[in-house]
Structure formats: structure tokens, C-alpha cells
């Protein structure tokens, strides 16, 4: 019998690290269009951050603060990707026709906005959802 471990150091650093990871994943996600990265990798990194939280805390306390059904999240992700494809069709374009344009936004200056980004959001959501579903399913099986 051992005394209960004190996880203060781990918890503190984990929170910080998670913030860095999330920032980084968002960065990866946005950079995808011009630099290495993109929805898939961004999603997986986010998932990694969530897994880190699960690791150092526990599933239930994270679920309490982040009450998300990851299966649904994944489904919504795929749906977003599909619907960006469908959206083009309403304008008489082909399925999955992506458009992009350059807009002068007040804060960001000239910014490129592409429907492909929306597609990528779907990808990212799907990846996060699936990855977490797999991880939690397995760990709930009392391995």
C-alpha cells in the first residue's frame, strides 16, 4: 500500500502544455493551406492534447468540463465536409467545388478565405472525434 500520489506538478504543467498543444494544433490547422499541416494533422494534435488531459487527470473529470459526445462530433465533422461539397452545387457548380477569395478584414488585414478551410474543419472534427472515440472505448474496456 502506497500513499496516494501527489500530481500537482504534473497537473500544472499538463494544463500549460495542453494550451501550447491546442495553440499549436490550431496553428497547424490554419497553416495547412500554405505550409505543412492541415485538418488531419491539426485534428490529431488536438486529439493528442485531449489525450494528455485524460492521461494526467481522468476521463470523468474531463468529460465533466468538456461534455462532448465524440462520436457525434466525428459524424458532424464528416457531415461538414460533405455539406461544403454540396454547397457548391447550390450555385450550380460541381460537387466539392471550392472557392477562395481575398478579403480585407478590419483586424487581420488582407486575408484569404477559402471554402476549403471549412472542409478542413470537417476533417479536423472528424479526426478528433474518431481518435478520442477509439481511445476512450479502449480504455473503458478495463484493459
Amino acid at each position: 500500500m502506497k500513499p496516494k500520489a501527489n500530481d500537482v506538478i504534473l497537473h500544472t504543467v499538463t494544463k500549460l502544455a495542453a494550451i501550447i498543444i491546442f495553440t499549436f494544433s490550431i496553428d497547424l490547422f490554419w497553416a495547412g493551406h500554405h505550409f505543412p499541416g492541415g485538418g488531419f494533422i491539426g485534428g490529431l494534435t488536438t486529439a493528442a492534447g485531449i489525450v494528455l488531459l485524460y492521461l494526467s487527470f481522468d476521463i470523468e473529470s474531463i468529460q465533466r468540463n468538456l461534455p462532448i459526445d465524440y462520436k457525434k462530433m466525428a459524424a458532424i465533422g464528416v457531415l461538414i465536409a460533405v455539406f461544403t461539397g454540396l454547397a457548391g452545387m447550390f450555385y450550380g457548380d460541381n460537387f466539392l467545388e471550392q472557392t477562395f477569395g481575398y478579403f480585407d478584414l478590419p483586424v487581420f488585414g488582407e486575408t484569404e478565405l477559402a471554402t476549403a478551410v471549412l472542409f478542413d474543419v470537417g476533417v479536423a472534427l472528424a479526426v478528433i472525434g474518431t481518435a478520442i472515440t477509439i481511445i476512450t472505448s479502449i480504455s473503458e474496456d478495463e484493459l
Binding site: H34, F35, P36, F40, T130, I134, S137, I138
Partner: protein, 112 residues
């Protein structure tokens, strides 16, 4: 480089095949993973190696390597990951249910 990689691919295939033929769940899955690694290398080799810089337009001073195989591999990696995840959990469940990880004991020809 291409020839070297061809030999590496062959070796990976051989090892993978040997592992797959060894009747043990874990070995089979390891073998399949090795083969899929080999195939990823093969695809990128088929696109031509080191013919230019990374396919990022920002450093456009040199030519670019063929980006198509890279995109294909990306898709293949993800699909492969999905399949492997499923297979792993499946094999784990099968082991739990049957109590063996030896495929030779999982013939299932006897009448149940």
C-alpha cells in the same frame, strides 16, 4: 536511391510476409504494418525521388517533387491507421473471447 529503396521494399515485404505467415495474431498484424510501410515507401519512390524541393510554393526557387504520390500516401496512411486500429481491437476481442492468439486454433471447422 530508387534501386536501394527497391531492395529495402523487398526486404520489408519479405519480413512482413514471414511474419504474416506465422499464425500468431500480433505477428500477423506486425507483418501487415510492415508491408503497409513498404507500400508507402514504394508509392513515394514511384513518384520519383529528390527531383526537387518540398511541394511548398513558398520556397519556389527549385522545382518540386511530385506531390501526387505524397497526397496518395497521406490518404493511405490514414486509411491504414483506421484499419489497423480496428484490427487491433478486433484481435484483442477475439483473444479475449477465444482465449487464444494462435490462428491455428481459430479454424472453426468443427461444428459449433
Amino acid at each position: 536511391m530508387e534501386s536501394l529503396m527497391a531492395i529495402v521494399i523487398g526486404i520489408l515485404f519479405s519480413i512482413g510476409t514471414y511474419l504474416i505467415l506465422s499464425n500468431q495474431m500480433l505477428r500477423i498484424i506486425l507483418g501487415l504494418s510492415l508491408i503497409s510501410h513498404a507500400i508507402n515507401i514504394m508509392i513515394i519512390v514511384m513518384g520519383g525521388l529528390k527531383t526537387g524541393g518540398p511541394p511548398l510554393l513558398s520556397n519556389s526557387d527549385r522545382g518540386f517533387t511530385d506531390a501526387v504520390p505524397q497526397a496518395l500516401i497521406l490518404t493511405a496512411i490514414v486509411i491504414n491507421f483506421a484499419v489497423t486500429a480496428f484490427l487491433l481491437v478486433l484481435s484483442y476481442r477475439t483473444y479475449k473471447k477465444h482465449g487464444t492468439d494462435d490462428m491455428n486454433n481459430l479454424r472453426g471447422n468443427e461444428h459449433e
